[in-house]
Every structure is written in C-alpha cells, then in structure tokens.
C-alpha cells in the first residue's frame, strides 16, 4: 500500500484541522446567535474556499486544499464518509411508530407538502430550462432534480425550532415531526430513484429495475432486518462495552448498508439511511446512545461536509440573483402552500396550518447532498447549486420566526397567554354561585357563548366536587363546545368558600373553559394554574392588586420568574 509522504500527511492534517476548526467555530458562533450551525459551517467553507481565501491567496488555497492528488482524494473520501454518517444519523431518528400514530394527518401533510413543491419545481424546470441549464434536451432529468430538491424538508432544523418554541410535544409539534419523518423517508427513496434514473439515462439502462430494487431493498430492511436488529441490540448493549460497543456496531452497520446498496447498483447513501431507520426503530436502543451518535456525527462529520461545500464552489462568480430568487420563490411558495394545505386538510386550523407550512419549509442537509450529486453528475450548474444553498440558509433562518408569527400568542395555549386585562375582574360577589356566574358572564359576553349552558356545565362540575385549591385559589372549570380554551379571573378580596383543602377562603377565582374533546389540555391548564399559585407569595402578590392590568402584569412576571 502506498503511503502519504510527510508533506502530504502534513497537508492532509492541516486541511482537516482548518476545516474542522473553522466549521466548528462558525457553527458555535451561529448557535450563539440562535441560528442553525449548518449556516455558520457553510459560511466557514465560503471563507476558506475560492470565494474569499482563493480570491486573495490562491496559492495558499491550493496548498491547504488541493483539488487533486493524494490529499485531494483523501479529503474527497472523508467527505463521502461524512455524507454516509450524516445519513445514518438521519435514519436513526425516523420513528416508524409515530408515522403510524399520526398516520393520516401526517400522510396528508407530507403528500401535499411534497407534491406541490415537486410540481412547482418540475413545471418551471421543464417549461423554462434555459434559465438553469445549457442543454434543454436534458430538461426531463433536470426537472426531476428540481422537483425532488424542492420537495424535501430538514428534520433536525424542524425539531430544534419546535423545541425552542416549546411546542415539540404538542399535537401540532408531533404531527410536524411525523410529517418531517415521512418526508425524510419518502425523500430519500425518491432521491435514490432520481439518482438511478439520472445514471440510467446516461447508460441507456431500464429505469424500472432499479426502482423495483430500491423499493424491495427498503421493504426487506424495514420489515425483516429491523426485526433482527431488535433482537441483536440488547445483546450488543449487554455484552459489549458501553457506549463504545453499540456505537461501533451502529457505525459498522451503517457502512454495511452502504456497501450492500453500492453492490446492488444503488447509491451508498440509501443503504446508510435505511440501515439507520432499521436500527433506530428498536425499543432497546437507548436514548443516550442516539444522542452520543448524533453529537459525534454532528460535531465531526457535519462541519467537514458543510465546509467542503464552500471549498467546492466560488459563490461570487456562481451567484446569479435571478436563479436565487426563482429558487427561493419556488421553494417557499411550494412548501408553505403544499404542507399548509395538507395540514388544513388533515384537520388543523388556519394559523396552525401556516405554522406547519413554515416548519416544513426548513431545508437542510438533504437538499445540499442531492444538489452536490447533481452538480457532480453535470445535471445542474454552479449557479443553481448556489441558489439551493441560499434556499437552505434562508429557510433555516426564517422557519422559527415565521412559525412564531403564525401561531402568535396562542402558540403555547398556556394559561397566561390566554389572558388579556379584559378577562380579569375585581369581584364583589358574596357567594360562590354569584362569583361563578359573574365569571361565566364575562367569558360568554366576550366569546359569544350561551351563558345558561356554560353556567350549567360549570356548576354541575362544581357541585360534583368543589374546586377550591390551597393558597386562596379556586378553579371552577368545564369542558364545553368551543374550539380554543378560555380563561377569566375574578379577584375577590373578601374571599369565598370553595371548600379548599387548607380551609382558606378563595380570593383568586379562575374560570377555565376548555374544548370538549381535549381532556389533556384541560389537565395541563389546571395544573399550570395550580402550580402558578402553589407558592403563597405568588397568591399574596395577586391578592394585593387593585386593577385587572396590575393583575395581568404580575401574572406575566410570576410566569417568567417560574420559567
């Protein structure tokens, strides 16, 4: 085996050090700025590549990052390996159970969320190919590429945004995650088919057999091999060192998957991804193992890959504002309209559907990998590649703020977010019944509800079990025919007997009305209110208020203090 010379070894280690150091550094910087690290890593690549470093110091660029020769090939090999491991990590997080649990709504969202952007991309590429490619005869394969590239979403960015917005575990959040997972699964299979078609077009081979082979491979891996892993993983975790044994096992299996698909004439990435799905679905795979693998891949291989992207392209010379705008408009419009419409069809409200559209509009590693392959195969030029990178960067930056905007203050459906000063009253009621009636009237006049029906429901619940809680709090409540929860508060300084466990009179009376079919939401709000006043000082603070505005501002402060 021939070896790298001392200079080549030095060059190779220097290249990796610079790529990793800059990539990680910019990634961390963007993390601090509350942006996706992938954006920082790509920018690090742009700085290190022909766009900036190459412009000022072309010789230095050639020395540190040679394009050919042993060092160039070694860097290329590291990038290929990075892509495989990134795909393995994506596959590991695809949960087939959640796909089944949220099946229908997630499927509808995914269907429209992929179909509409695909049609947008395909139609534009097919009808006006001259904007993007030199040879219009290759429009079909190019149209397939653009349709596929625009139809896929980025699960890590979506998951992170949902966690930041504190809606990860809500029905909406889980549906978005399920849709993003469906999107990944279908996206990667479609991507492999696309590659087979692209390669087949050149060689004149039938495109049917690779498609059948891809679907067959996926089915065998998910139905049979997944079950085998389910039996093997407990043994690996028990008998081998932890976490080294299981991490090594997963990495090796990812590579085995890549080898199998390569041997079968499919692309290596499909093997790594599907192997990840088969492994990750096991109930025995510990959460900490997943996190360690994600950390390992994210902190080593992701920066290397994203920096490499910047090294490949001169972003200044390849930048074409028309193409960038077309890609952005097509990407944003297709995904937001498609996924938003799908969510709406799946039963979500208007604002929530927009939120789904904005979330699914996040793009990431998949688009970049797909575009890189297309670039290497000569299907697209560097200008379109840069357009796709812009789409990834801008959609990643905007997805969080856009979701926030669409959900407004309803986003958490939290108790304090439900209130405005009009929902708070200083009460002089002298009986529990009068106080409940006063609150019911307040809620019903604002929300145009039948007060007799609402009162009857609340009172029925109150009579079955009084709702007095410790620290001068009472929470009369009922489930009624409404779409969103309603909360109103009365402050009664004299106090009323709601039979609280601590025998104190209730002075803060919170009426909670929740939709009939949302048991969990009612429990969540009830426990949230109870927790808010579990500390006596919080109750005292509210009792010592003189106006509804003062009460509201104190509630906001208490809430943020508790967070």
């Amino acid at each position: 085996m021939s070896q790298l010379s001392s200079t080549e070894l030095f060059q190779f280690i220097l290249a990796i050090t610079v790529m990793l150091g800059f990539g990680k550094g910019f990634g961390e910087l963007f993390r601090k700025l509350k942006q996706a690290p992938v954006v920082g890593e790509i920018i690090a690549g742009i700085i290190l590549g022909p766009t900036i470093l190459g412009y000022f110091f072309p010789d230095l660029l050639k020395f540190v990052f040679p394009e050919s020769g042993p060092v160039g090939y070694s860097l290329e090999a590291i990038t290929q390996l990075s892509i495989l491991f990134l795909l393995l990590a994506v596959g590991l997080e695809v949960d087939l159970g959640i796909l089944i649990r949220y099946g229908k709504s997630a499927l509808i969202t995914t269907f429209y969320g992929m179909l509409i952007p695909f049609i947008f991309g395909f139609a534009v590429a097919f009808l006006i190919p001259q904007f993007f490619i030199d040879n219009p005869d290759e429009r079909l394969i190019f149209a397939l590429f653009l349709g596929t590239a625009l139809s896929i979403s980025a699960l890590p960015i979506i998951a992170r945004t949902l966690l930041d917005l504190n809606i990860f575990r809500t029905k909406l959040g889980m549906m978005i995650i399920a849709s993003a997972m469906f999107n990944d699964l279908i996206g990667w299979i479609a991507f492999s088919i696309f590659l087979s078609v692209a390669e087949g077009t050149g060689t004149g081979l039938s495109i049917v057999s690779p498609i059948v082979l891809i679907l067959l491979f996926t089915a065998v891996m998910i139905v049979i091999v997944r079950k085998l892993f389910h039996r093997m993983i407990p043994w690996v975790q028990k008998e081998l060192s932890w976490p080294g044994g299981i991490i090594g096992f997963i990495m090796v299996m990812g590579l085995v998957g890549a080898l199998i698909t390569e041997k079968l004439g499919m692309h290596t990435i499909l093997g790594a991804f599907i192997m990840g799905v088969a492994l990750g679905d096991s109930v025995h795979l510990r959460e900490s193992t997943r996190e360690i693998i994600q950390q390992f891949i994210t902190n080593i291989f992701a920066p290397l890959f994203f920096v490499y992207i910047g090294l490949r392209i001169n972003f200044l010379t390849a930048f074409d504002p028309t193409i960038v705008i077309i890609v952005l408009v097509l990407g944003f419009a297709g995904k937001i309209i498609g996924a938003g419409y799908g969510a709406y069809k799946g039963g979500f409200g208007k604002n929530e559907s927009f939120a789904v559209g904005f979330a699914m509009n996040s793009r990431g590693v998949l688009e970049i990998i797909l575009s890189l392959f297309a670039l290497e195969m000569g299907i697209i030029n560097e200008s379109l590649f840069v357009g796709i990178i812009f789409l990834v960067v801008i959609s990643s930056i905007l997805s969080g703020p856009l979701i926030k905007l669409s959900l407004g203050k309803d986003k958490l459906k939290g108790f304090v977010q439900l209130l405005s000063s009009e929902d708070i009253v200083i009460s002089n009621a002298v009986s529990k019944r009068d106080a409940v009636m006063e609150l019911v009237e307040l809620a019903c006049s604002k929300h145009k509800l039948d007060k007799t029906n609402v009162f009857n429901e609340v009172w029925k619940r109150e009579e079955s079990l009084s709702t007095g809680i410790e620290n001068h709090l009472a929470i009369p409540h009922a489930k009624i025919d409404i779409k969103k929860p309603i909360a109103v508060i009365a402050l009664n300084k004299d106090g009323l007997n709601f039979e609280a466990a601590d025998n104190e009179l209730s002075k803060i009376i919170v009426l909670l009305l929740t939709p009939k079919n949302e048991n969990e939401l009612q429990l969540k709000l009830l426990s949230e209110v109870a927790n808010l006043f579990a500390d006596k000082t919080n109750s005292k603070e509210i009792i010592n208020s003189d106006s509804s505005e003062e009460i509201l501002s104190k509630l906001v402060k208490i809430k943020s203090r508790m967070e």
Binding site: G27, G97, P156, T298
Partner: protein, 283 residues
C-alpha cells in the same frame, strides 16, 4: 364504589388451564356478584355435557343454574360473537405470556380475542385453582376518554379487591428529540426538556386524580420516557404488578400493526402479568 362488571363470559375447555380459569371466574363472579356465561366450542353430546357438568361443579358452580352456550366454528370468532350476543361485559381468557414468532404474526385464539372482542377482556397467563386477589394495580394513562374509563374501572376493582396500591403509568416519547443536538442543541438541554415534560405529566396525573376524586386508595404516578406501549409493559414486569389495566386501542388491530408495532401490540407480544383490557360496550 361501582361494580365494574355484571356479566362475565368464559370460554370453557377441558384442559388444566381451562379448569383453573373456571376457578378464577368463580372468584370474580363472587367479587362482582355477577352472572356467568360459559361458552364451549364443540359438539353438544351427552358425554361432553357430563364432562362439562363435572368440571363446572368442581369449581363450585351449580351446573343447572349456569348459562352454557354451545358454539361451533372458528374458536375466537364464535367466542367473540357469542359474548356480544349475550351482552357479556368481561371475557376471561387464558394466554401464554409469549408466543413463538410465527404464532404471534399469524394470530392465536387468545390474541385474536384480545384484539377483537367487543367487550372488556381479562387475560390470565397463570390461572390457578386457588385464585388470589390482585393487590398491585397498574394502569396505563393517556388522558383519552377510554383511558379515564380504564382508570375508573381499575379504581373500582382495586377498591373491591382492597388493593394495596394503584399505579398510574404515563409514557412519553419525543421522536426526533435526539436530533435537535444536530442543530445547535446540547445533551443537557435535551435532558432538561425531558425532565420538564416528565414533571408536567406528573402534574397532569395528580390533577386527573383530583378531577376523578380517587381518594380512597394509595395512588402512585410514574412518567416513563421511551417507546409508548413498550416502556409501561417493561415497568409493570419490573415492579411485579399484579394486574395491568389498559384501554383497548381505538381501532381494530391488523397484521400491519404487528409488523410496525402498535403501542398495544407490545403488551400482546409479551404479556407482563394479568392484563385487563377495557373496552366500552358498543364501541
């Protein structure tokens, strides 16, 4: 305190397990002051009738006053249909803790009844001729109406049994959470998110207990993080639960749900202890 079941159905066979199940049924009939319907799949011959009479009387029932239904055909289907016809609200069946892979996927009689019965089902893996009462009740919670119904039934049953403890189990899972570390998250943040969710779930369960006014028995709440269905099953096994009460799935489970395991299928695959599947009659 309510009586959860008024009519108990039992598919009677001549096997040793069948005999033990009859004894178990006898105990429950007394406990609930319920009526019993015995369903026997087979030809009604004099010999079979005599043998059945001996078996029934040995378990303490009066043969002449017991309602026996003779059925023929697919065992599971006939039992399920007869139970519906006779308005049975609890079917008692015996089952192996775990079946071999082929049987699991092809579907055994007991598993088919658990999946498809129109009423609640009590599954006993080790029925005994000297049955004992259940002391440690575990209930799976998901806040649905079915789940509330399961908690209420478990509570009533626990009161009747003078049980030591009722344990409410809530499973939570956030698929894709580990992936947030890929996009600027840290393991500490992820762990913090999990802890916050677990606390929220505990609070909700405590509130549920108050809402349902479950005051007369010692109740514990547990929030488990992991694959829903699997974690609760494992937990019940680990703490040696005496009975695991679960709401029936809201749809009929098919082969697809065994391949891409539905939450409920984890319990069917490895039955951790006696399992009571709560199904609302007529739903």
């Amino acid at each position: 305190m309510g009586i959860p079941f008024k009519k108990i159905g039992l598919a009677i066979t001549f096997s040793p397990t069948g005999k033990a199940l009859l004894y178990e049924a006898g105990r429950l009939v007394k406990l609930f002051a319920a009526e019993i319907v015995l369903i026997h799949n087979g030809e009604k011959t004099l010999e079979a009738e005599t043998k059945l009479a001996e078996l029934i009387e040995s378990a303490g029932f009066n043969f002449s006053s017991v309602n026996i239904e003779w059925v023929k055909g697919d065992i599971a289907d006939t039992i399920i249909n007869k139970a519906v016809e006779k308005n049975v609200d609890l079917l008692l069946v015996g089952a192996l803790e775990k079946e071999n892979i082929i049987k699991y996927y092809s579907g055994s009689v007991a598993r088919k009844i658990m999946r498809q019965a129109g009423c609640s089902v009590l599954v006993l893996t080790s029925p005994s001729e000297t049955p004992v009462s259940f002391k440690k009740f575990c209930v799976s919670v998901d806040y649905s109406m079915q789940s509330e119904n399961a908690i209420k039934t478990a509570y009533d049953l626990a009161m009747l049994e003078k049980a030591e403890k009722l344990i409410l189990i809530r499973e939570i899972q956030a698929p894709g959470l580990a992936m947030t570390v890929q996009d600027s998250g840290s393991m500490r943040e992820v762990e913090l998110a999990r802890q916050t969710w677990a606390k929220e779930e505990k609070d909700k369960m405590e509130m549920l207990i108050k809402e349902m006014n479950l005051t007369e028995i010692d109740i514990e709440t547990h929030c488990l993080y992991g694959k829903e269905g699997y974690e609760a099953n494992k937990f019940v096994e680990q703490i040696n639960g005496d009975i695991f009460v679960v709401p029936a799935p809201q749809k009929k489970l098919k082969l697809f749900d065994r391949i891409f395991q539905h939450d409920f299928e984890f319990t069917l695959k490895q039955i951790p202890c006696p399992v009571l599947i709560i199904r609302n009659p007529g739903k």
